[in-house]
């Protein structure tokens, strides 16, 4: 394996590992929650994963009609949470009737648990969050082209620490981008259309199991030989399920599946590509279900 490939995979693994240490505690917190409240507790995650996974797939609209093009690199995608992502309104679990509403912290909310008063002096406790302002993820991406103005891309990363406290993460994706400029007479910018499908699992036994696809139209043009701004307008669709061990009344646990509402959103991108013969750097901002940003570096030849 070449040094470049090893560095890309290691960087991706390390960044993915950054989200893992708290995973065991997320699993613990879910156990005490009903499926309805698991949805509330993890509500910020679909938006976070949707905007990050669906960013940085395409950094140029310049897809050659033919010829060998290859690059491998690492893309880091991040998004910022809003204040409204930090709390949710829990629903009463069976056997408990609340006497006052509370705003319980989501997984990205305050670290303090919230206690809700109930009938007869009972209390229900909702666990604290991890006080996160943002979410980030990094993945390696390989791009190969071009044939009939089309290139293909793939993403893959898998981290398994072998430690039950840390768990594992797995991401894979495939995509394609096709040159539209050659259908247009004298287009002032390069234009392409692209799509990517990805699957992302986090934790043991598919604790978080998500699938997403993204499609976009990209426009770009070299304003200097090595500087290429790009714009994109697209659409994200994201599905997520959670499989957790729910604490049973009377003891023991039961594996419970929770399906989240689909997260569908328009996705706009603006970015800059610095393109040198064998190395390309890019940075972009994304406006989708949340505001995101991404940056990356790739090595190779061709566009």
């Amino acid at each position: 394996m070449s040094r470049t490939v090893r560095i890309a995979l290691l960087a991706g693994a390390l960044t993915l590992a950054g989200v893992l240490p708290a995973l065991a505690q997320v699993d613990v917190n879910l156990g005490s929650l009903t499926p309805e409240n698991v949805k509330g507790y993890l509500e910020p995650l679909p938006k976070a994963l949707s905007v990050t996974l669906n960013s940085a797939a395409f950094q140029t609209a310049n897809v050659p009609m033919a010829g060998l093009n290859f690059s491998i690199g690492i893309h880091v995608m991040a998004m910022a949470f809003k204040d409204e992502d930090r709390t949710y309104s829990p629903t009463d679990p069976p056997g408990f009737t609340s006497t006052a509403p509370v705003a319980a912290p989501t997984v990205v909310g305050d670290e303090q648990a919230v206690t809700q008063p109930g009938q007869g002096g009972l209390t229900q406790v909702y666990p604290g969050g991890f006080d996160l302002n943002q979410f980030e993820i990094a993945v390696p991406q390989v791009t190969v082209g071009s044939l009939f103005g089309t290139k293909l891309m793939g993403r893959w990363i898998e981290v398994n620490t072998g430690d039950s406290e840390l768990g594992k993460a797995k991401l894979w994706g495939v995509g394609a981008q096709h040159n539209l400029s050659h259908y247009m007479a004298e287009s002032p910018v390069d234009v392409s259309i692209g799509a990517m499908y990805q699957a992302f699992e986090l934790g043991d036994d598919k604790l978080i199991d998500s699938k997403t696809w993204h499609a976009e139209v990209t426009a770009s043009r070299n304003v200097l030989p090595w500087l290429q701004p790009y714009l994109a307008a697209g659409y994200d669709s994201f599905k997520m399920e959670v499989n957790y061990d729910q604490d049973l009344s009377g003891g023991g646990t039961q594996n419970t599946n929770v399906k989240f509402d689909d997260e569908n959103s328009a996705h706009f991108t603006a970015g800059l590509l610095l393109g040198f013969p064998t190395i390309k750097l890019h940075a972009q901002v994304d406006l989708a279900s949340r505001i995101g940003a991404a940056a990356g570096v790739r090595f190779g030849f061709g566009s």
Binding site: T15, G18, P21, A22, A24, Q25, V28, N29, G31, S32, A78, A80, K82, P93, P94, G95, F96, E111, Q112, A113, T115, Q119, G120, G121, L122, T123, V125, Y126, P127, G128, F130, D131, L132, N133, Q134, E136, E165, P188, V189, A219, S220, R221, V223, P229, Y230, L231, D247, S249, G250, G251, F268, A270, G271, L272, V285, D286, L287, I291, G292, A293
Partner: protein
């Protein structure tokens, strides 16, 4: 202006717009102390007897037998970092049915007395349902005085567990009674009382986050 000259301006405008509305920053590893919540239960068995149209009985349980470490399981919460144990729910069920077909109980009440002179206070009211079949757990109507007594005992048990000392006055005697039909046939069944507990404790974790 030609359209391709607008491209860099549009990129800069969209970038500036995003940066002004809360964009992610360079992340770093940070410490967090998170309050986790773990559920636990303890189940108590009681025998109810009666000769006319009533049923009653009493039993004493030592809640000091509660194994907090076992309830914490593999949650990662250290006993010293448990902040509270409180009662989050109470339910009951018939576990060994009465042999008389059609046996039904109503108006059940449970009083609780803590050793050392606490109580008696009313813990539950309004027990009802069939007693001639095994039943699932039913949510009980709890009373604040009884809940306060159990919560105080749980707090004492937690404090004692942290210091490794015995719990003073750790037993609770439950006195229960109610009405029973059909009349004139002796009543005999076994029922269970389940106490659902919420345990809150802190763990220190590392997260990747921006400022």
């Amino acid at each position: 202006m030609r359209i391709h000259r607008l491209l860099p301006l549009a990129v800069l405008a969209l970038g500036g717009l995003s940066l002004g509305s809360g964009c992610p920053t360079i992340p770093k590893i940070q410490d967090r102390v998170v309050e986790l919540a773990v559920g636990g239960t303890t189940t108590l068995d009681f025998v109810a007897d009666g000769s006319t149209n009533t049923w009653s009985g009493n039993a004493t349980y030592d809640l000091a037998d509660l194994d907090i470490n076992s309830l914490l399981g593999d949650s990662g919460i250290d006993l010293q970092h448990v902040k509270s144990i409180t009662l989050s729910g109470v339910s009951y069920r018939v576990s060994v049915p009465d042999q008389t077909a059609g046996r039904t109980i109503t108006s059940g009440t449970v009083l609780a007395s803590r050793s050392g002179g606490g109580g008696p206070v009313t813990l539950l009211t309004g027990f009802h349902g069939p007693a001639d079949v095994e039943t699932p757990f039913t949510t009980a109507s709890v009373q604040p005085d009884g809940v306060t007594m159990i919560n105080q005992l749980l707090a004492d048990i937690l404090a004692a567990a942290k210091t490794g000392t015995p719990v003073a006055n750790s037993t609770i005697t439950y006195d229960y009674n109610g009405e029973s039909t059909p009349n004139g046939v002796p009543t005999h069944f076994t029922w269970q009382l389940k106490l659902d507990l919420s345990i809150v404790g802190t763990v220190k974790v590392k997260v990747l986050d921006g400022d």
